[in-house]
Amino acid sequence: MSILTLIIKREFISKVRNKSFIVMTFLSPLLFVALAAFVGYLSTMRSGVKKILIHDESAFFTDEFKQTDQYHYLNFSDIPLQALKDSVAAEKYEGILFIPKSADNKSLSEDIQYISNESPSASFIEGLQEVIGKKLTTSNLQKAGLDTLAIANAQAKVDINLTKVSGEETVKGLNEIKVIIGGAFGYLIMMFIIIYGNMVMRSVIEEKTNRIIEIIISSVKPFQLMMGKIIGTSLAGVLQFLIWAIVGSILFVIASSFLGMQMSSPTAEMAAASGSDFSATAQLYIREMSNLPVATLLISFLIYFMGGYFLYSSVYAAIGAAVDNETDSQQFLLPIIMPLILGVYIGFFSVLSEPHGTIATVFSMIPFTSPIVMLMRIPFGVPWWQILISVTLLFATFFLVVWFAAKIYRVGILMYGKKPTWKELYKWLKY
């Protein structure tokens, strides 16, 4: 057995045997599903019906407010405002919509008040404003002597149908789905890098604090040790992800068969409501999904995943070698986490609005963000040459960074006692 495989094996076994690894591997899918179920349960819960009092001195809007599941509107225009205020203060009612008598629509639109204990939600107030606004507009139009019915009929409602050049009909909202798929992969890479990069770092620090490093390093090259650590740890991580995927899908099947009953009824209602139209749209979605470059996506996920992980974890290894304990590592970790987070943000903001815009394109080339940003772009279809440049850059940087990291690692693992500065790290490169 070569020494590298020996190191990989040891790292893998020591990670996998670790109690916290075992607990995390089997507990996190459970936790995740439990959390999802909890959130689902919370969202089905409705807060009680809120009763809104309407004190309409103009008697103009009394019948305009439609009762909803959440809000009941009660007309209390006859009761003095002060009495209503008292009852709201006593928390019997949610709030009062106070519409004063007014000379004209103009001043009325400015004088309406909503009185409550707790500040109302923005969407609720918007709803009120819309109803009142509509009514006032109609009234204004009538006063101006215009035919409101004719205007209503003249309102044009546009719904653009999306079609590809190839003639296929496509669906709106697909972009969101693409971003979610690409984003999920990109996010996965970021999480993996942070979790397992940290593991690599901790394992380097462990060897330093255990003082076994000098024994090891007298039999193997520091570079071999570093690579062995990175690969061994990543294999443990891949195993963990596989277990998560398997356990997760089993739990998902179980959970959905339980929830299936409740889920199916509203869907059926919706389908009935929109009739054949709905199933046609659903089919469109499914067809679009299957048209996504799945193979490209998976292959590039693997490539970017490896490139990104190796790139970052060699930096993590170098940091681990440079410091004596985990607390000292903080100042060096920030520059690692920044580009990762940047990648995710750029992915979600700029790729969504402009998948092939300048920002998205540039950051999908820069090696430290490309694994995340490019993966988010790929579902939108990226020219092969861009992927080629991006991958080439990524791996070129990877080799460069590994070379630097190995230098720092080589010097750092035998340095004890002092927390190094950036300047010293630079000096180590020249040793």
Binding site: E207, N210, E214, I215, S218, S219, Y416
Partner: protein, 306 residues
């Protein structure tokens, strides 16, 4: 080839700091070679270079006549001063892992381990984790790991630190036995009494330079000052002192004896011991007459404080 290791004009600098300045050493086969020097003298730098942990900036190193190269890792066993083991790994697995890193096959490593575990009476530890062992116990494991692959050259950096006297003795005997079996041992320590006891060759490094190297007895001969410690029973102390101070340099001496005699330390200068004896026998009865041989400790302190 009678020399296992030849270090030739090795230079190592860290930035502006010179850790080794053209240091040359010759370690004869089958010797126990004491590498001495104060803290920060450059011993560890040199040992790390021999172990190929770091590379020298300049100079050559020959191991058994061949230029030092990666395959020689298997011919060297190194017990560093800063040593430790994987805490959460089991003893047996850990030993196997470290042995395989030195190029042993798994079966061979197991065989060797059984031999050593038996010999050091630590058979029951195979499935224990290192964190369950005491410091001294872990040291034993480290010693086993160092010698397991039967290296030609063994380098021990402070091997006895952390051992109780019983185990230190056990390890000392093992070191001597390994030497008798043909291994060469480089021994870096601050414990001068163990150097005195074990080493036949020494080298002293101070401030990045080698000051002394050679057979222990040769070095001692070189450092002897022609001084004798004498004890004498005499009635006429003043007369004796007069005679002695005429010819020699005389100082009071302290050594343990059964008689209540006059104890002196006498530097002969260019004279011979017979001349001194002649003077002494004329004045009284000689009870003690020993040449003062410099201890390694004396040599160390003398050369370092120069």
């Amino acid at each position: 080839m009678s020399n296992i290791l030849e270090v030739h004009k090795v230079v190592k600098t860290y930035g502006n700091y010179t850790a080794l300045n053209e240091v040359s050493l010759t370690v004869p086969k089958g010797s126990i070679y004491g590498l001495l020097g104060p803290n920060g003298a450059g011993k560890t730098s040199l040992i790390r270079i021999i172990n190929q942990i770091t590379l020298p900036d300049n100079g050559t190193i020959l191991l058994d006549g061949e230029k030092l190269q990666p395959k020689h890792i298997q011919s060297i066993g190194y017990l560093p001063e800063e040593r430790g083991l994987y805490k959460s790994m089991k003893v047996g697995e850990q030993c196997l892992y470290l042995a395989q890193m030195k190029g042993l096959s798994k079966a061979e490593a197991k065989k060797q381990l059984e031999y050593w575990f038996d010999k050091l009476d630590i058979k029951g530890w195979w499935n224990k984790k290192i964190e369950e062992l005491s410091k001294g116990m872990a040291q034993k494991i480290q010693f086993v790991v160092t010698v397991l692959h039967q290296p030609k050259l063994l380098i021990f950096d402070e091997p006895f630190s952390g051992f109780d006297p019983v185990n230190a003795n056990l390890i000392k005997d093992e070191i001597l036995e390994l030497r008798d079996k043909g291994a060469t041992i480089i021994f870096s320590t601050h414990r001068m009494e163990s150097v005195e006891e074990l080493c036949d060759h020494i080298a002293l490094i101070h401030k990045s330079n080698k000051l002394i190297e050679g057979k222990l007895n040769d070095v001692k001969r070189e450092y002897r000052s022609n001084t004798f410690e004498i004890g004498i029973l005499t009635d006429n102390v003043e007369g004796l002192m007069y005679d002695l101070t005429q010819k020699f340099q005389v100082n009071p001496a302290h050594f343990k004896s059964l008689n209540n005699e006059l104890k002196l330390e006498i530097n002969l200068g260019t004279a011979t011991s017979n001349e001194l004896l002649h003077v002494l026998t004329q004045r009284g009865q000689v009870t003690h007459f020993v040449e003062k041989i410099p201890s390694v400790n004396d040599i160390f302190i003398q050369s370092v404080s120069q």
